[in-house]
């Protein structure tokens, strides 16, 4: 067997290191975006030559995207944002399918700004996979190697090895329409990886799957991405997908980066309402007045345990909120607001109450508690949060 790609399942990925000094960069899976910064800075104009350095600017009549994106080899970066934020445009710009208005794009030290998509070392897994319907799974995967000059037999041998890695050997001869969603996703991943890309792009890789399949495919995808030794960028509007699959999140809203960091960091310190909503936190922005009190722009004051100055964010989970029908007397909580129930909805095995009034917030309570309080839209309530349950951090 002379085929170098016939790796057994679980074996290291077939791509060899592209250059001898990549060992400085490939350990970046832990989330440090610039592992080789100190070493490369003296010899190269860019902080790191390896990995992705992009400043993507795309201007259209009704839309402006302007984001900076860096990623080290081996790193998985998720672009997270609401629909219409510009995630897919960013992905298309990286792939060369949408031209950059200005900005630059460097991958492993090579400038790709004006390179056509077919000449970029970039693989794409499209949202609905776009497997060629007239070709079998095997020929779909062999398409890339064929375009890169492999003979028909060689391309098919490589494709068979990739399908084997994905556990799809018995589906090699099947046309895409006869594959399940999860299988199609793996064929699409194999097809993208078969060209040995230095940058793998995944557009909403799990959006087309039903909830049950999603769990399986997500964990498989995580394994394959962990094995992938070049840069992977995935686009999603699902925070769970982003947090499970990615080492680092870049949150995009209205074509701009609003926050960047590890999943844990972003979950703990959201900086916009969108992220706070995604991770299920109440988020407020205000000024730390003196010591432990934060004055919000709208008027109310929140007491925290952190000692900060200047502009700060305050966050607390809905579960930290306690509700009373009558004003509590002698309560230790200094954070007490008079509110009104705006809406109620089932949230897991809890009831989530949306409150308006002195402070708009979400509160979680058990169904029993909700019944005892006789909560209904329009009902007046008092909401308290212990200072120790809040979390303040600089804005």
């Amino acid at each position: 067997m002379t085929n170098p790609h016939a790796a057994a399942d679980g074996a290291p990925p077939p791509q060899g290191p592209p250059a001898p000094d990549t060992d400085a960069c490939t350990g970046g899976a832990g989330g440090n975006p610039h592992p080789a910064e100190g070493r490369a800075a003296t010899t190269h104009p860019h902080p790191t030559t390896h990995g992705l350095h992009a400043h993507l600017v795309v201007t259209r009549p009704a839309f402006h995207l302007d984001i900076t994106l860096t990623a080290a080899p081996g790193e998985v970066v998720a672009l997270l944002g609401p629909n219409g934020a510009g995630k897919t445009t960013a992905l298309r710009a990286l792939a060369g399918l949408t031209p950059l208005t200005t900005g630059h794009l460097h991958l492993d030290g090579t400038e790709l700004d004006r390179t056509p998509p077919e000449s970029r070392p970039v693989g794409v897994v499209f949202q609905d996979y776009l497997l060629f319907p007239h070709l079998t799974a095997l020929d779909n995967v062999a398409f890339g190697p064929r375009c890169h000059g492999a003979t028909k037999t060689d391309a098919r041998t490589q494709a068979a090895a990739w399908l084997d890695r994905m556990g799809l050997t018995e589906h090699a001869g099947v046309k895409p329409r006869r594959l399940s969603g999860g299988q199609a996703q793996r064929v699409a991943l194999a097809r993208a990886l078969a060209t040995h890309p230095r940058l793998l792009l995944l557009d909403e890789p799990l959006a087309a799957l039903d909830a049950r399949t999603r769990l399986d495919v997500r964990s498989q995808l995580r394994r394959h991405l962990a094995e992938f030794e070049a840069v992977a960028v995935l686009v999603t509007h699902d925070p769970l997908d982003a947090m499970v699959l990615a080492d680092r999140l870049i949150v995009i809203e209205d074509g701009r980066v609003v926050q960047e960091g590890t999943p844990a960091d972003i979950a703990r310190h959201p900086r916009t309402d969108y992220i706070a909503h995604l991770v299920g936190l109440n988020l407020y922005r205000g000024r730390a007045a003196d010591g432990h009190t934060v004055e919000l722009a709208a008027g109310p004051v929140i007491t925290t345990t952190e000692d900060l100055a200047g502009d700060v964010f305050v966050a607390f989970p809905p579960s930290a909120v306690t509700l009373f029908r009558d004003r509590p007397t002698g309560a230790s909580a200094r954070n007490l607001w008079r509110c009104e129930v705006a809406g109620l909805e089932i949230h897991g095995d809890q009831i989530r109450a949306d409150l308006t009034g002195e402070l708009s917030l979400a509160a979680d309570l058990t169904t029993v508690a909700a019944a005892e309080l006789d909560l209904h839209p329009g009902a007046p309530v008092w909401a308290t949060v212990k200072a120790a349950q809040t979390h303040a951090y600089p804005a």
Binding site: P117, E118, V124, L130, F132, G144, C147, R191, T195
Partner: protein, 282 residues
């Protein structure tokens, strides 16, 4: 009130019975009558052709060398015109469907012009362009010694001129309906735009191309006006079936009917080939 309710409850199932049997409401007469007349009008000539066909002498009529020559020439020229339309028309359809250039809508209108142009006018225009003294024809004659009018090649040119728009419009429609992102997916896998077209788009739109080709072929086979104007009517060289039918009608009506039957058979075969596309449209 209660009495009315009771009778209604009894009557309801009785009324539901006939309503279920008569699925559609009555067809209005002002639509039914003209529609029936139209149907008869379209079918009557074909029936007449079958009624008056000289069935007993048909074998001898159809095996005469003249008929055979005309049929052979028709098939060859129509097939060649279809091939020309495919080779030139599919790329044109792709350009119209997949690229942006100024005046694209105008070009598209020009492409469809031969569809509505009287074929005789097309023949005259071809003579002025490619005739021996034509705008381009004089140079073809002077430099390469090529003369197209009144040759078999001229028949192919005339038929291509009339048939190609059918193919272009059909293929362009299929291309517009096909998802262009498959081509994008192919380019991200390293395929040039042409490779993407050849290996992905072409197989995907193959049914549309086939339908367009059949349509163009049928149109080329029946082409009369442009052919007789541009290529003349020389038996064995430029006399195709429709020309032979027209000529035979003057001296030998039986032969004309026999030739017409052959063309009718071919037309029905074409309809059969396209039935999935058209007859299931309802």
């Amino acid at each position: 009130m209660t009495k009315a309710d009771g009778s209604g409850a009894v009557a309801a199932p009785r009324r539901g019975g006939p309503r279920r049997r008569r699925v559609r409401p009555a067809v209005p007469l002002p639509l039914l009558l003209p529609g029936a007349v139209a149907l008869v009008f379209l079918l009557l000539p074909l029936v007449a052709l079958l009624v008056r066909a000289p069935w007993s002498s048909l074998p001898s009529l159809l095996t005469s060398t003249e008929v055979w020559q005309a049929l052979q020439l028709s098939l060859i020229c129509a097939t060649a015109a279809t091939a020309v339309s495919l080779v030139l028309g599919v790329p044109l359809a792709w350009l119209l469907a997949r690229t942006e250039f100024p005046g694209r809508g105008f070009v598209r209108a020009l492409v469809t012009l031969p569809l509505v142009l009287p074929p005789v006018v097309g023949g005259v225009a071809l003579l002025l362009a490619l005739g021996r003294n034509g705008v381009v024809g004089q140079w073809l004659d002077a430099w390469f010694g090529i003369t197209l009018p009144f040759t078999t090649a001229g028949v192919v040119v005339a038929e291509s001129f009339v048939a190609m728009p059918f193919l272009v419009i059909s293929v362009e429609g299929t291309l517009r309906a096909a998802d262009p992102r498959y081509e994008e997916a192919a380019t991200t896998l390293g395929a040039s735009r042409f490779t993407a077209f050849r290996r992905v788009t072409l197989p995907l739109i193959a049914p549309g191309i086939a339908a367009g080709a059949v349509l163009a072929w049928a149109r080329a086979l029946g082409e009369f006006g442009a052919t007789i104007t541009f290529a003349g009517n020389f038996p064995g060289r430029t006399q195709t079936m429709p020309l032979a039918v027209y000529l035979a009608l003057q001296n030998d009506p039986d032969a004309a009917i026999a030739l017409s039957l052959v063309l009718l058979t071919v037309s029905i075969a074409v309809l059969g080939a396209l039935r999935d596309r058209w007859m299931t449209a309802s």
